[in-house]
Symmetry: C2
Subunit: 194 residues, 2 copies
């Protein structure tokens, strides 16, 4: 039983995923996945956390320079490659919940059966969530949310060609703002027990 | 407690919706809604069934002729108007499950609280479903499914401006092919009890 959980920022998705793993008594990979990737790639934990789900824009100069160095591997690509390898190993070997990092797309492509979940919520709920759970960074909350969405979307698009958050890519999509955390946990557990 | 269920053709959505209503002990509106609309509009049941969720293409000539007759109301528009009125009355008055007919969009727009569910499934599942549940019409199954999807999408787009089946428009999206009928029923009931 492998459950992959994609989530918009500030929907409580991380907590829901953790509680699902606890309830089912299976492994939970979020921070733990980051640690493994950091260990195997040699990148530090902060870099893996930041770059493992978000892709930055690259300058044309960077492209021209690196295109001519055959042995050079872009750090974000290297990170993705190692991350993918670890996700596929985990998915093939043990029952677990994996958060983010294109896990659902990667496992499906590799023919490994998994339950693919997406957790979203509307803007009002997410704004309130940021205000109650995160520190003020000076950036207006809505801008912050939109930037996060856009970066995650770019990352998924770049590495899988698929559209992040599009219903067709998931077996179960939940609006955590409407349903609440407890119901989301119960629903995912029920779906997994199918 | 009002639950609206949109579903792709050949996903078992009708049966799931009916079982949810039974389990919650609340009214179920699908065929019964058609009957009410037929009664109040004067259209026959077949016309309401066909035109209540699908919009046909109109010729330019039809447009030119009718545009000049102020008192003329297009039958599909009249049907939609009456259908909408009945859905809003039902949603405001009683606990129920309503299948299709833009119910979720209409209730939300009117500020009536409801749980909005979408039931989909992948093409392979739906093809097999058609083959085991419906008669062969001579039209290739995939073509038949795509036409149905396209007509439902046009109907929703025409009358609500929204995209049918897009995750953001629902609180819960279920892949009935992956999850199975029983799990879908349990999940919707759990979400409604929130």
């Amino acid at each position: 039983m492998v459950i992959t959980i994609s989530r918009q920022f500030a929907t409580g998705g991380h907590t829901i995923a953790q509680r699902v793993a606890e309830k089912l008594g299976i492994a939970f990979y979020d921070k733990e996945l980051v640690n493994r990737v950091a260990e195997q790639s040699g990148f530090d934990v902060d870099f893996v956390t930041r770059q493992g789900e978000y892709i930055g824009s690259k300058s044309l100069l960077f492209d021209i320079v690196t295109r001519n160095r055959a042995s050079y591997e872009d750090p974000t690509d290297k990170l993705f490659r190692i991350q993918k390898q670890i996700i596929l190993e985990l998915g093939a070997k043990e029952d677990c919940v994996i958060v983010g990092r294109c896990a659902g797309f990667l496992l499906q492509e590799a023919g490994i059966d998994c339950l693919r979940v997406f957790i979203g919520a509307d803007m009002d709920y997410r704004k309130a969530y940021v205000q109650s759970h995160y520190e003020d960074t000076g950036v207006p909350v809505e801008k912050r949310l939109k930037e996060r969405d856009s970066h995650r979307q770019s990352y998924v698009q770049h590495y899988t060609g698929a559209v992040w958050g599009e219903r067709e890519n998931y077996n179960l999509c939940l609006d955590s703002g409407k349903l609440g955390e407890d119901a989301c946990v119960d629903i995912i557990v029920r779906a997994a027990q199918k």
